[in-house]
Symmetry: C2
Subunit: 384 residues, 2 copies
């Protein structure tokens, strides 16, 4: 793990435009994932995912406790989700799923994937439930092609699974006062009462098991889970643990974020090869104005979108360090660097496309017929 | 119908303590049920229930429109409910159910009975869902003994039926902003987000059919339904009609209201005969201090709790007029008057007790196996 621990950080994401990730730790009151923790992960599962090594997932709440429990023979379970909105899935959605997939494999644990097929409608981001349903179908197809363990994964849509969720949502909702929800979620007078209730539903999967839930998500999502942590033990469950990532960098500049609303900032899973190529070849780099200058002075990977994407999708540390050094030294030109990234990105897309051949079967497993799914269709929340 | 239309109102409930029912009409912006409307009801169904004749249900919204639609071959449907809370059912709950039963029989229409087995828990009036469940069982047993049409009645608990309700609740909830809900329901910062969402669920049964819902309820409940009326037509349904009652008078004085929190103000369906007798014999009357004075000066039925209860449970108008006149004239003493009321009240209770023999079968019908219930377990909200 040469890429960290020696002061040399190959993923210089610390300041994104206005974002100072060091300050965010204090702001959200969460802990940095330390080298010691990474060493522990490696001893436990023999491997550390690049997203961890590179401090893309860089902070946490109680992940050390989850590891303690795991070390002494207990288990945690994973929980993530995606709320279908207007656009198709893009790489900003994919990153947490890819990381979650690794976590599931490495720790051999259950994973619950919530597809809230009402949230964006209640948030007035989508105009009809029918439009949501169409997006849900796309999202499910892609998730089913990511290779989650078919017997340890349960994917559910809120509206389809609500009969199982509602008892627990009621118990949770009673314990969340409007003023708290307003403070955390920024509700206003024109917020729909459906969206006000929604956080209760989002908490329910953390109660699917008596063991600890571990939730990989972006750092700005942490407050949502603080509500869970205020409630869980009072109703006989464990506080959720979070593993928190930085914001996914866009292709369009040093302060950009991947976003569906800026189609050139990211790659959609549905983009055809020509579009993918165009987006990557047009991506922002912080090289020199001319090839000659680039050869002479070298580039600036620290502020380069393409390099940031390499840090996501070039898993081999030595290769990444080489890219960094070669760029700095003026030996790697932006065009070549982009072509190397293109190959990586196409690799991710090819795998998904390939897996989609079995998507229908996989989807059936993680929704209804796999071991965990079967059990969850019998699950009932136990209340007092 | 000699009891109204000639200026002689035998149920002098117009001013209850602070309540001026005439002013409430203006306050809520609802219409009085006119003699003309009562005449129309009589022509349509051959009968007018005493609660209507006596202006206990005295106001409405669009009930005339529901009658128009009925007259031209359409149908409305009835919707009522009861939220199980701490105490057992009492006569304050019974009155609207008895009236609804008559409406169902008279108009031969479908009736939906919602048992929100989360509302009082979310409102923090009950401390556990388990406690609610126990109350639900009692409430269901009593409702099933009231003699609703087994094939035209559907009784459901929210938490059991939620899979069918949720799609529609989401569509409704999106259209209710928090500020509106706060204004109507008086939500505050310490209101649970579950209670904030609940009004959306309560509106759903008005969307069970494309025809108009008619909701018998107390006049202070009308604002809840105004939200429905703001939304319904925008999503392709009809505005709910309400038939609005005055507040049920307690046994304990001229300004009292029946209330579970004052056990002597009302009769619980579970009260044993001795308790019933005691409560009625101890009820407030506005007679004279001595028998001699009562014979000489007469009593004051206008402000007498026992007389008000007679107006609820002595259905024959001539008999009621006789009680009124005999009291006024000093010919009917309070003790005798109470004994007559006791007989009436016991009659209602005896009927329920008698019917409870078949309650299990009846309950199965209105919950699962009757014609309407069977259909409703296949019902799905159609959304855009």
């Amino acid at each position: 793990m040469k890429a960290f621990g020696n002061g040399f950080v190959v993923t210089p994401w610390e300041v994104e435009g206005e974002v100072d990730y060091e300050k965010l730790l204090a702001y959200f009151g969460v802990d940095r994932i330390t080298d010691e923790m990474l060493g522990r992960v490696e001893r436990l599962v023999g491997d550390v995912h690049p997203f961890l090594r590179r401090q893309i997932f860089y902070a946490h709440r109680d992940f050390n406790v989850a590891l303690d429990e795991y070390s002494s023979g207990g288990r945690f379970f994973l929980y993530t989700g995606i709320a279908p909105s207007k656009g198709p899935m893009h790489f900003g959605h994919l990153v947490p799923f890819l990381f979650t997939r690794w976590l599931q494999k490495a720790f051999n644990v259950n994973l619950y994937i919530m597809v809230p097929d009402e949230e964006k409608y209640l948030a007035k981001k989508v105009d009809s439930l029918r439009a949501v349903d169409e997006r849900v179908a796309d999202v499910e197809r892609i998730i089913s092609a990511l290779g989650f363990d078919p017997d340890r994964t349960f994917l559910f849509r809120d509206r389809e699974y609500i009969a199982h969720l509602y008892d627990a949502a009621v118990v949770v909702a009673r314990r969340i006062n409007y003023s708290v929800a307003r403070a955390v979620f920024g509700f206003r007078g024109d917020t729909s009462i459906g969206l006000v209730f929604y956080p209760a539903l989002q908490i329910v999967p953390t109660l699917f098991e008596r063991s600890r839930s571990v939730i990989p998500c972006a750092i700005d999502q942490d407050p949502y889970w603080r509500i869970q942590r205020d409630i869980a033990e009072k109703i006989g469950y464990k506080k959720a643990s979070t593993i928190l990532s930085k914001f996914m960098p866009g292709l369009d500049g040093p302060s950009g974020k991947m976003s569906a609303s800026k189609p050139d900032s990211t790659i959609f899973v549905t983009d055809d090869p020509e579009t993918v190529r165009r987006k990557i070849m047009n991506a922002y780099t912080s090289g020199q104005p001319t090839v000659a200058e680039q050869r002479e002075k070298g580039g600036n990977p620290d502020t380069c979108s393409v390099y940031k994407w390499h840090s996501l999708f070039t898993p081999d540390d030595e290769e990444l360090v080489d890219i960094f050094s070669d760029c700095r030294a003026g030996n790697l030109l932006c065009g070549d660097c982009k072509l190397r990234l293109l190959k990586r990105v196409q690799g991710v897309l090819d795998e998904i496309r390939e897996n989609q051949k079995n998507a229908e079967r996989n989807l059936k497993m993680i929704k209804y017929e796999g071991e965990l799914a079967t059990r969850m269709w019998d699950w009932k929340f136990e209340y007092d």
